[in-house]
Structure formats: C-alpha cells, structure tokens
Symmetry: C2
Subunit: 233 residues, 2 copies
DNA sequence: ATATTTACAGACAGAACGTTCTGTTTATTA
DNA sequence: TAATAAACAGAACGTTCTGTCTGTAAATAT
C-alpha cells in the first residue's frame, strides 16, 4: 500500500494544490477547520514552492531537505509524510512546474495570434525558461544523471513535456497564419528551446543581462528568416 | 605556505601534465626513475582524466572523491596530496579542459579557412561541447552555484574562456574571407554557443541523436543567412 | 652518503544528509 | 460520541563523503 500511494500521490497532490492555491494565499478565515485534503494540498504546495526557490538560488547540491523544510516553515515530519523521499519531492516539483508552464505559455501568448506574436516565440520561451521554476527543473534534470532511479521516474515526464510543447507551438503557428517552414518545425523548435536553455544557464553566471537580451533578440529575428514571408512582407 | 602552493599549483601542474602526457601514455622504459615533476604530472593527469570521465558519465553529484580515486587507480593519499580539496581538483579540471579545447578547436578547423569552414562553426562548437571534457565543465559550472567558494575561483576562468573563444572566432571569420555580420558578431557567437550547450545537455537525456543532428545542421544553415553573401553565392 | 624535501599510502574522524521511527494532534466516519 | 485514519512533529539512526593525519617510499640536495 505504501508503493501504491507513492505512485499516485504526485499527480493528485499537484492537482489539489493548484486548485486550492488561491485559497491558501489569500487569507483564509483564521479559525476555520481545514479538511485533510486542504491540509495536504497546502503543505505540498508550500514545500514545493520552497524547493523551487532553493533549487533556483543555490542549485541542486545545496538544496537539502533541511533547507527546504526551513524555508517552507513546515516540520520535517510534515514534509516526509507528503514526500517520503527526496526523489518524490523532486518528481512533484517537475510535475507542478510542468502544469504551471502550460498556463505560463498560455498567458504569455495572451490571446494574440498575429504573425508577430509567433515570431516572438523565442522570447517567450526564454522568459519561461529563465524563471525559477524552469531553472529548478533544469537543476533536477542535470542532477538526475547521478541518480538512475530518479532519472527513470523523470524520463517519461520529460518526453510528455516535449511533445506537448511541440504540438502547442505548431498549433500557435497555424492560428497565427504562418506557413510551415521548409526547414522543418520540429528542428526549429528544438533549436529554439536549446538556445533558450543554454542562455538561461549562462544567465545564472554571467550577470550580463544585456548581452543575453541581444542574443534573444537575434533569435527572434532569425525566426522571421526561417519562415516564408507572407503577403505583408 | 600551504595557500601559496595551492594558488600556483593548478596552472603549473596542468602544463607539466600536458607536456609529459605522450611520455606516460606511450610505454615508458619500465625501470626508469621518474623525476618528482614527472610523478606529480602523471598522477595529476590520471586523476583529472578520471574526474572528467566520472563527471561525464554520472554527473557531479555522484562524482565522489572515492570514485575518482578508484577509477584513476591511485591512492587516496596521492590524490589529496595533489588536490588538497575537491574544489582544487575541479578547478584543475576546468583549467585542463580549457587548454585542451583550444587545441581541439584548432584541430577541428584543420587549416582550412574557407567560407564553408566558417559556416561549419556551429557544428565544431557542438562537437567540442558535447564531448566528455566540456560536459564535465558544464557539470562543474552548474554545481558551483551551490558552492560560493568554488564559484569564485571559476568565475575568472570562465570569462577568460569566453573572451578567448570570441576573439578566435572573429579571427577565423576574417581569415575565411567572410564579412562581418550586420547583426553583430558577439551576439551570434553567444547564441551559437548557448544553442550548442543546450543541445549537448539535451543529448544527455534524449538519446535521440538524429534529431539533435538536425538541429545542428539547421544552425549551420542559419549561419549562412546571418552573414552577407559573397560573390560566389 | 646523509639529510631533507616531495610524493604516496591508507586509516581515521567529524560533519552532513536522507530516511526511519515513535508519539501527538486533527479530521473523518460510524 | 467513539473509533479510525490521516496529517503532523521532531528525535534518532545509519550511511556516506570530505578533509585530516600519521607513517612510508622515492627523489633531490648537501
């Protein structure tokens, strides 16, 4: 039964946490009794957010369970109850970020479906990938190379993310009235994501934001070169 | 006196190891007495190579000093004598890889200075960055975020590498008879490196070599679009 | 040849980390 | 309300890893 719970807990918890998030962040009536589901969701959400912060700020190696517990302001027991092992926590972080990124991309594409909006895709990708949640996931992915068990559990999630992102971009292109590129959509998408990820890593050290911004601009310009010009151009 | 040695040891040792490498790898006369310098250089080189292998194969977190010692086939004492702390070893790895990469780029550009050779620059960058030594450095860089002391000692090395690479690429462009791009050389270079690094990271997980190869091809094609066409085009 | 410095060998110790375990409080069910 | 289950709290344990430390062999200097 232990393994049973572990295998289903991540997805359920994430969903519950997401649903209850507004409730917890807005001041809830002080004395109200919280349901078990609410308590779980709050704890999970708090711990996950703390983990993301730690991963972003100090990297994976320095992100200890103690540090996460301290920053989250929960007890060690509360955390281990929700996440029996560190791998469980990391898996939950990846799942949560994955869900949020879908919303993020959605928000950033903001209803606009113009040709220009599509060519800004590299900038949106950079924006999403350079923020703490995505950096946290990168840290976890890199660290998972040192832990086969962890890598195993993250592998399918990663492919799910990739496939989903690719489909969304293709759909976005269609809705924006941009013809498919003769150079191939998947390759372009992969390259843009790789470049954005590489730049986000460099941003962690270089502190030279302007230079990175220029590279992102350049990538957007390149986008316009890769797709056949429309009537307007 | 201890700190004195530490501050000068890395560069000296690397140089000595490089000079003596052929001698050690080719079978040296069995009974010959090795000088102290030779002994130092050999162990340093052996340990550094082992560290690179470990970092490449299992990532930073799982690269323990014991593992490096075991793979190198040297004693713990030999290692700690040459590298008093783990940070010292990592610093030496970065310095060594830096030196080797200069040779690697040189070899890969192979005397040819044609326009085509310059446009293949992304592929050369990818080739260099996806190999164990460069991956090892990426691992160290990412891990250094968790260790301020380590980050401090790597910061200047990193900037030295970047500046050097940028100058070399510009020189290569000139020698290849390619006019400067109106979009700016530094931004292009930064983007290419970031993309190659991002792709090399993806290559560690995805195992989809063909797809990555396509992205690299695409990047080379993009290069031709970024520089003004010559008479031949 | 002897002394001294350098390189090496391996055991040891302290610290830190992840996990487990026992007891307590809070919520849900009957 | 009583019984059960879930969430929480925090101490304790065992492992692992790095850095140190003492002793030995090899090379260099005197």
């Amino acid at each position: 039964m232990e393994s049973d719970r572990q295998s289903t807990t991540a997805a359920q918890g994430v969903r519950a946490a997401t649903e209850n998030k507004q409730m917890t962040e807005a001041g809830r009536p002080k004395g109200r009794r919280r349901s078990q589901a609410e308590r779980s969701a709050e704890t999970r959400s708090t711990v996950i957010d703390a983990a993301i912060q730690c991963l972003f700020e100090v990297g994976y190696a320095a992100t200890t369970t103690s540090m996460v517990v301290e920053r989250a302001g929960v007890s060690r027991g509360a955390m281990t109850h929700q996440f029996p092992s560190k791998v469980d926590l990391m898996e939950a972080v990846v799942a949560t970020v994955y869900d949020r990124e879908i919303e993020d991309y959605e928000a950033l594409s903001g209803g606009g479906r113009s040709r220009q909006a599509f060519f800004d895709f590299p900038r949106r990708t950079w924006t999403v990938l350079s923020r703490p949640p995505a950096v946290a996931v990168t840290e976890i992915m890199m660290a998972s190379r040192s832990d086969p068990a962890m890598a195993e559990r993250l592998r399918d999630q990663q492919s799910r993310i990739d496939e989903n992102a690719r489909k969304r971009v293709e759909a976005f292109r269609n809705e924006s009235g941009v013809a498919a590129s003769p150079l191939g959509g998947p390759a372009i998408h992969r390259l843009v994501v790789a470049a954005a990820r590489g730049l986000s890593i460099e941003a962690l050290y270089s502190q030279d934001d302007e230079s990175i911004d220029q590279a992102v601009d350049l990538l957007c310009q390149i986008m316009t070169l890769l797709y056949p010009p429309s009537d307007g151009d």
